[in-house]
Structure formats: C-alpha cells, structure tokens
C-alpha cells in the first residue's frame, strides 16, 4: 500500500540511496543495451513454444523446447541439474490436514466408526484426485494435531510423523498404503467403475522407489510387520510424551492387494441387481487369491 502511495521520484531516490558507490566496473552497458544482430522475424524469438502451439494451447512440458525434443532445458543447461528433471515421474499427494478431517467428521460427511480410506474420503466429493496426472492419493498433514479427538482408523498414502502421533494419541490407527494408478482410479470413483462393469483390480506392489517407505514401520507402512509397528507406536509415544490409550481399533485391515473393504478383488459389482460376481475360472481365481501382489515396473 505504502509503495503505491509514494511517488516514482521518491522511490527512485530510495533505490539510489541504497545502492553501493559507483565503481569502475559499473561503467559498462546494461544487459541488452547493444545487440549484435537484428531480429528479422518474430518467429525467431520463441524459446519453448511456437505460435501454433500457443494458439492451440498445446504447450510442451516446462523446460521443453519446441523442435528440439531431445534436448530439454535441464539437459541443455546442466548447471540447473534438478530443473524439472523428474517432471514425468514425480508423484503428487493431495494434502489432508487433521483439522479438515475433524471438520468432515463434525459435519457428518465421514463416519469415524468405519475405516477411512481413499474411497471414504472421495465419497464426500470434497476432494478431486486424478490418478492420470500422477496424483497418488492423500497426504495426512499435522495441521490441527493439537486437538484431534476422534478415534479413527485411517489409511492414507503418505503421512507426517506428527499426524501419525496425533491420531495414535487419540487411540486411532494410521496405515500408509500404496495404490497403483488403476486401483486408485477404482477407489476414487467406485460408482463409475462399477457402472462400467470393470473388474475390481488387484492392488499392485509399490515401485522400487517407494517400497522402502511402505516397508518402514516408522511410517506405519502397510508392508511392515505388526510387531515392529507396535514398537514404533510405543516409541513415538515415549518421544513425544503422551500415554497411549488402551482402546484398540476393532475394524479389520484390508489385505495388501485389496482395494475396497469387504469386496474381494477380481469381482464385478452390479449396482442394478445389487449383486457381486466373482470369476469362476481357476486361472483367474489363482491370480486374484494369490497373496503376493504383482510387481509394478514404473
């Protein structure tokens, strides 16, 4: 506000006052004061896109140079090593703070007595997850951790230590679980999935870069041992100085390759007939009943 009220002259003075004394090396041209050549065509100064691309709103990815697809910026200028280098592989998690969760429970959108997972959160229609653009689920953040009273059983894809501690302090349970793209698509909008008549997929194993995270009991990963997790639970209670309540979460856990609670993977749900069908073929049965989840190469 004060910046706008002052006159341009006054501001110019202020900049000059703050500037250092003039030295010999300052007596040179400003950048771009002289040019070695003249721009002949407008089309020659289009770093990163062409006019046609602009018109059709089909922009190349950030760092990409039109017509030079095999040399994006991050490779042309290796000084900026990490500039968008992971643009095609980075994962996005939708933040879900504990205070948001508490409000959803307060207003009756989520039933705290039932297990909460991606499908329960997406059924509120308050969140939008698009697995196709590498959004991989929810990130439970600690905002509102000081006063989170509900005893919940929640499964998210990523969780901070403070958030885990806050839920466990209230007697709840946190699990971080990986959903591959297809399973997440089914979990985000089960109704559309069932109406299309698609088979409920089997949840794939996490990729190599994530498997450590989900095997770590500290993150309450779904692939870690129960005993290890119990130890970590006690440890975080000791470190943070709270007493773990005696109440236990009674609801059953999903198996590691299951997308929905209570519905086996490999089955087809008919909403019109209110019936669930499972494959009869032995090959299919064996594939879906095998507890080892498929390896996903991504």
């Amino acid at each position: 506000m004060s910046q706008a009220l002052r006159s341009a002259k006054e501001r110019a003075f202020q900049i000059v006052e703050k500037a250092s004394r003039i030295r010999v090396q300052d007596a040179r041209d400003n950048i771009g004061a002289r040019t070695t050549g003249r721009q002949l065509k407008k089309g020659h100064n289009q770093m990163g896109h062409t006019q046609g691309a602009l018109e059709r709103a089909a922009k190349p990815p950030l760092g990409w140079i039109w017509g030079d697809f095999f040399r994006p910026w991050q490779r042309m200028y290796p000084g900026e090593k990490l500039f968008n280098a992971d643009i095609n592989s980075r994962r996005e998690y939708i933040p879900l703070s504990l205070i948001e969760l508490a409000r959803l429970i307060d207003l009756g959108w989520i039933n705290p007595s039932r297990p909460i997972d991606v499908s329960a959160l997406c059924a509120t229609q308050k969140f939008q997850i698009n697995p196709k653009i590498r959004q991989y689920g929810f990130d439970l953040t600690e905002e509102g951790a000081d006063s989170f009273p509900y005893q919940i059983d929640i499964e998210v894809q990523y969780a901070t230590q403070s958030a885990i501690a806050a839920v466990e302090k209230a007697g709840g349970r946190v699990r971080t679980a990986y959903y591959d793209v297809e399973s997440l698509e089914a979990a985000v909008n089960p109704k559309a999935w069932f109406e299309k008549g698609k088979v409920i997929p089997k949840r794939k194993a996490p990729p190599a870069s994530l498997i450590e995270y989900y095997m770590d009991a500290k993150n309450r990963g779904y692939l870690s041992e129960e005993t290890e997790m119990e130890k970590e639970r006690q440890l975080s209670a000791d470190v943070r100085g709270y007493v773990l309540p005696d109440v236990k979460v009674s609801s059953a856990l999903k198996s590691i390759d299951q997308v929905f609670h209570g519905i086996p993977s490999g089955s087809v749900v008919s909403l019109a007939d209110k019936k669930v069908f499972a494959p009869k073929n032995e090959l299919h049965r064996e594939y879906y009943n095998r507890q080892v989840s498929d390896k996903l190469y991504s």
């Binding site: 506000m1 910046q3 706008a4 501001r11 900049i15 205070i99 948001e100 508490a102 409000r103 429970i105 307060d106 207003l107 009756g108 959108w109 039933n111 039932r114 499908s119 329960a120 997406c122 059924a123 509120t124 229609q125 509102g144 006063s147 989170f148 009273p149 509900y150 909008n189 089960p190 109704k191 069932f194 008549g197 929905f260 609670h261 209570g262 519905i263 086996p264 089955s267 087809v268 749900v269 008919s270 909403l271 019109a272 007939d273 209110k274 019936k275 669930v276 069908f277 499972a278 494959p279 009869k280 073929n281 090959l283 299919h284």
Partner: protein, 189 residues
C-alpha cells in the same frame, strides 16, 4: 444387464469356441512343416471369464457411493466442535446485518489470490491473499465496521476491507480466514 452378458458368455463357451482352438482335426496328409504353428503353440484351452454370484454384505458397496445430499449434522455434546464449528444461534438475529450459511452448514468465506505490485528488490510480483465474505444481508457497512474492529483488535495491525453492497460481499486483506470465521461464529451466524 450384467445377467445378459453372462448368459451370452455362457452361450459362447458352450458353442462356437471349440472349433476355433481344437487341433485334433489334422489331416493325415498334412506334413509337419506345412503348418508349423499348429505344433509350436500349445493347444489353447478356453479362458473366457465365467462368473458366479458371491455373498457380499451390500453395505460395503453402499458406503462407497458418493454422498449426493448434504448429510445431517450429528449431535455434539458441546459447541464449538473439535474443528471449531458452531451452529447458528438466536443471537444472529439481533444485528442489523445477517450472514447466511451455505447449504453445507459452513460460512460463505472464500479465499482469493491476486497479483500485487512488482517487488523491486526481487523483481517478482507480490501476491495478496484476500478473503471474501459473501451473502451478507442487511447493513453490509455495519458488518464491515464490526469485522474490521474485531480483526484489528485481535491482530494488532490495520486490516483493509472493501464492501460490495450490491452483491453483499466484503473483501478482507491481511486477516486469516479462521479468524474471520471465529468472528461470525461469535456473533451467532
């Protein structure tokens, strides 16, 4: 619909598929090399999916359906609730202005981010974060006056506001949405 597809599956498995994949009807005169694929590939048994109904508790499916209607607010022992929500009370009717709730029982407060002036030091644009209060009925200016004095008392710095009387909107700059929410809850809206 699904029933009919299953029936069609069944008819296909019983009828036509046998002749497609069988290798038994090889002519005696045909030499091995005339159609080597017939012997190189193992005989295909059918893998067409047939399904059977399984008993599943339908409530597991029902809970997956998107919530179409705003749910009833459950009864709480005391207000505000753990997330700070309070139902509207009778005190809201005593003011010269009234702020309507949204259909989902929340206050009509919206966040907005707009570009400000160019910062000369960093040569980046500054951004201002505004909070818009919508659907204010009655004396909007009185509402704005009360809101501003409350916010300035709480924050200890001046707060900029802008009133759109026609639309019944107030824009606030320099105050968090949670504090504005607290103000309206304390007024009984």
């Amino acid at each position: 619909m699904l029933g009919s597809t299953i029936r069609s599956f069944a008819s296909r498995t019983t009828g036509a598929s046998r002749s497609f994949f069988s290798t038994s009807a090889v002519r005696k005169t045909e030499k091995l090399w005339e159609n080597p694929w017939k012997y190189a590939i193992p005989e295909k048994t059918k893998t067409l999916a047939t399904v059977e109904e399984i008993p599943v508790d339908w409530s597991y499916v029902e809970r997956l359906m998107p919530i179409e209607v705003v749910p009833e607010v459950p009864k709480h022992e005391s207000y505000p609730t753990p997330s700070g929500w309070t139902p509207p009370s009778g005190a809201g009717k005593t003011h010269p202005y009234y702020v309507r709730r949204r259909p989902d029982h929340l206050l009509p407060l919206y966040l907005e981010r707009k570009r400000d002036l160019l910062n000369e030091k960093t040569l980046d644009f500054d951004y201002v974060e505004l909070v818009t209060v919508r659907s204010v009925d009655g004396d909007v200016f009185a509402c704005e006056q009360d809101l501003r004095t409350y916010l300035q008392e709480q924050l200890g710095h001046p707060v900029a506001t802008h009133v759109d009387e026609l639309k019944g909107r107030i824009k606030v700059k320099g105050a968090p949405r949670s504090l504005i929410e607290q103000f309206f809850y304390s007024k009984g809206f």
